[in-house]
């Protein structure tokens, strides 16, 4: 990506003095974003009694993180692990499928002229503006008539569509895949699919990773859709399961399991945070691609 190169050259050209005041000001900003996460970590390491008796932003008498993790993973016959498995299933099939569909369609839009292309263009562009949550209730009503609710398909099928992903690949493919290359492949008699899967897909790789990240985060964090589609706890993803544990702690005949909710929450964010940190370069380029005209 040339934006990074340019960034360096720009910053190299003008090198103003660092400001302590600005840095301190921004440190307060970071406190705002990090203190709640620190609070979560501290409190996930407390026993249930310590939760209520010790100061919120520091550790309690016992460091119980590991016993909490053990309890979280084994509570109710290990339902947490089942939810984790469900989340992974929805992410692999949902986000993976969404990336494949968006990549093929974005490539098709960028590199082919076909009847109805303008129609596809305006429909997809309109869909970017339609909020997913607005469709959730109608989708539920329709899926319940089709007998799809309370099955994994009810969560997976709607996750397969990412209009924004299609848009990113489209913008990306225009530059990344030279039309001359495709013509040369055609001359050699290669089929369009063969060209796509052997040549184009490699050139599209950075864009594909960006879309995969976007759809993975969206699926991993999805709450509304599985909440309305699923009633059997055995199919819940982590998000819905954690919320159920929390509600369970509050009911009339409450059996408080706050320590499990806290530890379960902490465990649920670790994989996604790691993915973010490792692949942040792609985020940056994806956002730039999405917001800057070619």
């Amino acid at each position: 990506m040339s934006s990074r190169k340019r960034e360096n050259s720009v910053r190299g050209a003008r090198n103003p003095r660092k400001s302590i005041a600005l840095t301190v000001l921004m440190a307060f900003f970071v406190l705002y974003t990090l203190v709640p996460l620190f609070w979560l970590f501290v409190n996930a390491s407390k026993t249930q009694p310590d939760l209520f008796s010790s100061f919120g932003l520091w550790f309690g008498d016992d460091f119980a993180l590991f016993s909490n993790i053990h309890q979280t993973l084994t509570y109710n016959d290990g339902i947490y692990l089942r939810w984790l498995g469900n989340t992974l299933l929805y992410v692999v099939i949902g986000a993976g499928g969404a990336t494949l569909l968006a990549t093929m369609a974005g490539y098709g839009m960028a590199k082919f002229r076909f009847p109805g292309r303008r129609g596809v263009f305006s429909v997809v562009l309109g869909a970017v503006a339609v909020p997913g949550t607005a469709l959730a209730v109608p989708t539920f009503l329709m899926f319940s008539r089709l007998g799809l609710t309370n099955t994994p398909w009810a969560v997976i099928i709607p996750s397969l569509i990412s209009p924004f992903g299609l848009y990113l690949i489209w913008v990306f493919a225009v530059e990344a895949v030279p039309t001359e290359l495709l013509e040369a492949a055609r001359m050699d008699g290669a089929s369009e699919f063969r060209t796509f899967f052997t040549i184009s897909i490699r050139l599209l790789a950075p864009g594909i990773v960006t879309v995969l990240l976007l759809t993975t985060v969206a699926t991993w964090n999805n709450y509304f859709l599985p909440l309305i589609m699923l009633s059997d706890p055995n199919w819940y993803p982590l998000t819905v399961g954690l919320n159920q544990w929390n509600s369970q702690s509050l009911g009339a005949a409450a059996q408080p399991i706050y320590n499990l909710v806290l530890t379960g929450s902490l465990l649920a964010i670790i994989p996604i945070v790691i993915a973010f940190l490792v692949l942040q370069r792609y985020w940056q380029s994806g956002l730039t691609a999405g917001s800057v005209k070619q």
Partner: protein, 313 residues
Amino acid sequence: MTTTSTVPDARANPEVPPVKLEVRRQRRNWQGWAFVAPFMAVFALVFIAPLAFAIYLSLYRRQMIGGNTFVGLENYSQLLSDASFWSGLSRVLLFLVIQVPIMLILALAAAFAIDSARLHAASFFRLMIFLPYAVPAVVAVLMWGFIYGDEFGLAANLNDFLGSKVVTPLSQKWILASIGNIVTWEFVGYNMLLFYSTLTTIPGDLFEAAELDGAGAFRVIRSIKLPALRGSLVIATIFSIIGSFQLFNEPNILRPLIKNVITSDYTPNMYAYNLAFAGQQHNYSATVAIVMGVITAVIAYVVQLRGSRMEER
């Protein structure tokens, strides 16, 4: 991917395809459909069909006698005089006009600071401010809900320290602001990164020229950086407006904590959800969903239009 010096956003002008017009005319044939068809098939199933089905549902009503009957626009006229709907709608509007500007201004300030090259450890700040975006909404809300709580939350610690119950984020008076804080915490980093990414694409010679002309940092922000950000600002505003109108996760997850403060019709989306699930009023629920979708789309469209008109000036 190369970026050019023209920064305006492609999506801000729906009429202009985000691709360069190919100089060389390509052969027009049906081959492209092989790539687009799978997407469009699923798209039809999860976007177009539910939309059509919701419109159909909204025109009917399930009655004790006679079953499903066509009622025309009766559901819509009922909605227009439904106090629950209006109170929810005015609540999300209030939320929108206060929370969205605060969040976007904070994001803008952070983006300028990180881009200014005057910050120590700028990339650390960029990453840490962005981090909350990776946290699932459910976890973010549960976490803040606990922090707000007066059992073992920070609010409780503060009240203990002050000796009285002054800090009550979950009370009727403060709950909307508390939800606003959660939403800001979740999305300020995303918007910051969106703005920052756009700032890094401004060509360096513009800054060199400004420096030669003796322009200060604020002058550069006003004359170079803000105009360059217009497209991103339009997008961020549209996404934030959509998010506000569709507000659901945060109040719905907080609701078990404070059932009497957050009612089942707290936001239009919660109303539609509860109508469909608790009330089994599918037809009326579909009506609420359609009306909210139309309102959201219209406002997003107006913002987009205004944004691109400002660009032409």
